[in-house]
Symmetry: C2
Subunit: 224 residues, 2 copies
């Protein structure tokens, strides 16, 4: 009697490694830094976990320049992970399964953020009283000005520009207004700079990075 089934399960049993595997379940390959953000740990710690998963041949790496893309080494891994998840007590919200619909939920409109994400972001800012909405204009509140400043966005400087500062733009899928103008453009730029978003070549669609997904969910759900 001695079976190293346990070592395999223990490998998956660590919360960080389990989250890595869960994230990879969509079949895509992620870089180490992306995974570090999604599973919320330090790069060096993540690196250790990844190396263990590699050594056990659960994951494989593809090196491209200075990036390393990690993914399942074989389909059995995904099956095993799913069968384990199947053992969990039935969740109240099964909705967690349904993934983010197609990419066009997040896209650019000229130079600012549109789509579902753009609308949701705008509505949240209004609801949090960081932004006032009057007619086809937005206006940051005093609290909002401080908030934008904390992000490194200087409202006063933007207001100086020739173009309109914070106008409302109607989203054609959501049919609801979202933030445009130089302020909207600054936010979008900030999101690219911070790697929340990544442009998809030759389209107006934008990919939300794992880091961005986390940041946005923090932003849109609870925090100020």
């Amino acid at each position: 009697m001695q079976h190293d089934l346990g070592s395999m399960a223990a490998l998956i049993g660590d919360p960080i490694r389990a989250n890595i595997l869960w994230a990879l379940l969509d079949g895509r390959a992620y870089t180490a830094s992306e995974l570090a953000v999604t599973v919320d740990t330090t790069p060096q710690n993540l690196s250790m976990h990844l190396s263990k998963l590699i050594k056990a041949d659960l994951l494989s790496v593809e090196i491209q320049g200075r990036h390393r893309y990690y993914s399942f080494s074989r389909p059995e891994v995904a099956y095993a992970v799913e069968s384990l998840a199947g053992l969990l007590p039935a969740k109240p919200k099964e909705a967690a399964v349904k993934e983010d619909p197609p990419i066009r939920t997040c896209r650019t409109c000229y130079d600012h953020l549109a789509g579902r994400v753009g609308v949701a972001l705008t509505e949240t800012l209004v609801k949090q009283h960081l932004l006032d909405h009057t007619g086809n204009k937005f206006n940051p509140t005093p609290k909002g000005i401080r908030w934008f400043n904390a992000l490194g966005i200087d409202c006063e400087a933007l207001r100086e520009q020739r173009r309109s500062f914070a106008r409302a733009c109607l989203d054609w899928t959501e049919r609801r207004p979202h933030l445009a103008g130089s302020l909207g453009a600054a936010i979008l730029q900030k999101m690219f700079d911070d790697s929340w978003l990544r442009r998809i070549p030759n389209t107006r669609a934008v990919l939300v990075t794992p880091k961005g997904r986390k940041a946005l969910s923090d932003l849109l759900h609870l925090n100020v």
Copy 2:
């Protein structure tokens, strides 16, 4: 990002719990003490592990008198365990899978042990020079006498009995001699006493308990 897939895998990830699950994979229900022997740990420790598996609804108990029979609570558990085992690197000896053939490999012949197990035991004792084989008689060596004494079997006392002491009996399935006589009977009795074996009602077949399986494999493979 947060999934308790990890907690489930961690549950299986402990070596003792993994061995428990592996042992239960044959679909039978085992008592706590049987499991304690097979996974080679103390009863208290095993009890802790079992309670965790129960709480997670991986196992279920059926109480019969002072015994508690543990088994999988649902078939998904077995599937998950198997899928995990499928992730292990391909073993050189796949033979480990083939279980002990039917029960008649181990049975009593009048009052002593016969079948494959009885023959194997006898041959091992001879090979270890604990027993001499001449004609249709066996005879314990000096070393063998000490060994039997350590088991609580007094060869001198047995030799005093009216019946034959250590004769060779031909097994009808194995076609090979095995130990009979009062010495063979004493060994069988000892095995029942120590719960290595359990009689199957209304037959001459004998069930090797997990404890016995372990003890016999120690005995027949390496040790003196």
